[in-house]
Structures are given as C-alpha cells and as structure tokens.
Point group: C2
Chain length 130, copies 2
Amino acid sequence: MSSTPSCNPGFSCGLDATLRVIAGKWKPLIIYFLIQGPNRYGELKRAVRGVSDKMLIQQLKELDSDGIVTRHDYQEVPPRVDYTLTPLGHSLAEALTPLCNWGSDNMAEVARIFAERESWSAGAPGPRPS
Amino acid sequence: MSSTPSCNPGFSCGLDATLRVIAGKWKPLIIYFLIQGPNRYGELKRAVRGVSDKMLIQQLKELDSDGIVTRHDYQEVPPRVDYTLTPLGHSLAEALTPLCNWGSDNMAEVARIFAERESWSAGAPGPRPS
DNA sequence: CTGCATCCCCTCAGATACTG
DNA sequence: CAGTATCTGAGGGGATGCAG
C-alpha cells in the first residue's frame, strides 16, 4: 500500500531519490529553462549553451521516460517538436528555484573562488597552501 | 539584487554557478548531511552509503577549497576530524532542502518509475507503461 | 594516500529527411 | 542552399573503485 515508508528500497533519503532523476550535467538546467518558457528543441538548445545535440536529445529522452517532461511531435514538415513539464516535472523545477537563487546571490563569491583556483596554477602569490 | 550582476563571466545563470559547486555524485548528499547534524568523518561515511573513502575524502577536500566546509583536525590519537559548514555552505545546504523534500514527497513515484525501468529486463507483467 | 585499471559521460563530427 | 530535429559512431577525459 502507499504507506510511504521512511526509507524506501534504494534511496537513503529524499535527496538521494531526487539526485537519481536530475543526475547529469544538463538535466537541472534543462528542467529549469523549461519552466521559464522556451520549449521548442531549438529554443532549448540556445538556452542551454554549450550542450551538443546528442546530449540534449539524450537527456530529454531520459527525462521523458522518467515522467518529468512530455515530448510533443507535431509531425510537421519543418520538424516541430516541443517539450513540456509534467506536473511532476513542474514541481521539481520549483524545487530547483532556491538553488538558482543561491547561485545568483553568491555568484560573485563563487566566481572569485573559481578564479583563484585557476590563478594559483598560473603562479599566484597566494600565502594559501595549507 | 541591486548589485547582483545579471550574467557574470562563465555562468549563464545562477543555477549554472551552483552546479559547478555541487557537481559530482556525492557533494549534494554530503552537504545535506552536514547540516543535519554532527559530522565526524566516520559519521559522514555511514550517512552517505556507498561512498568510498577515497571519494569522500576527495569531495570533502574540494568542498573545503570551495569554501563550503571547514575541516578541523584535532590531531589526536585516535584520529579525530570533523567537518562543518561555512556560512556559505550553510546557505547552500538550505537551498538543497526543497530538493530533498521533493524527493521525499515523490519517492513512491520515483521508485515506481525506476522499478518499471528495471523490470523491462526481467519481463514484468506490467499493465503497459506507455 | 598513491597508482593503476575501468567505466561511463560527454563532446566532436558527420549523416538523414523534407521544405522553401 | 539554408533551417529544423534527430541519430550514429568514434574518442577523450574525468569519475570511480581496488589494490599496494
């Protein structure tokens, strides 16, 4: 029955379950862009810059079979396909929001950290080994 | 917000920035367990099931150099080391909460989906997934 | 903790089908 | 030819885990 056990087979906790769904380099981005508007393949590809066709298609396919998005093929001549979030996917996208905000809020900080890390390889005078 | 740069060098959006920090198979779990309580190395290892020593140490080290956690070595015998979240790490952990909740809320759903996907190889008499 | 063997993820480059 | 969506194969590199 649906007694929602505290710790189900396979998942050590809720976060664990979530991670299985959004695992991968692009899925979080894809999901998050999907809720913001663009849903045609081309739009998505432009939004998630740096992703290759293969990856985009692949991830989209996985998200589809995971019940996060729905693929709609208009079967038209200039190919037209769009992807929309399912209710489940929509709620997931919303759960992603705080992460996005965190990144926005701390972007300067994060950028600085990464910049430093790159610079020490270039010979930074950092009194900072450990 | 007033001083929040729209799109900084390298990051296409906030989510992108965040993902660079929590990239990896274990980091989100580690961070989230860290906020839930105490965390000696051993505790952590028990919490994040399936992780190897090498990976745990490695990820912890990265999180440390990313300013997310702080490593404290008591230099005792028996070795005692603990890791605590920095303010930055703490806020990140909080941003992770909705994701954890999402997983908990939809664990049954997710488990079902994954179960079905695995069953195709076992020949389940399922009433057709579609 | 370091080295080594492995595996999967991801990127690159090229191909297909159809229209204006 | 240009544009859209998708697929295929090859290959590198990073991530992961085991043993010394």
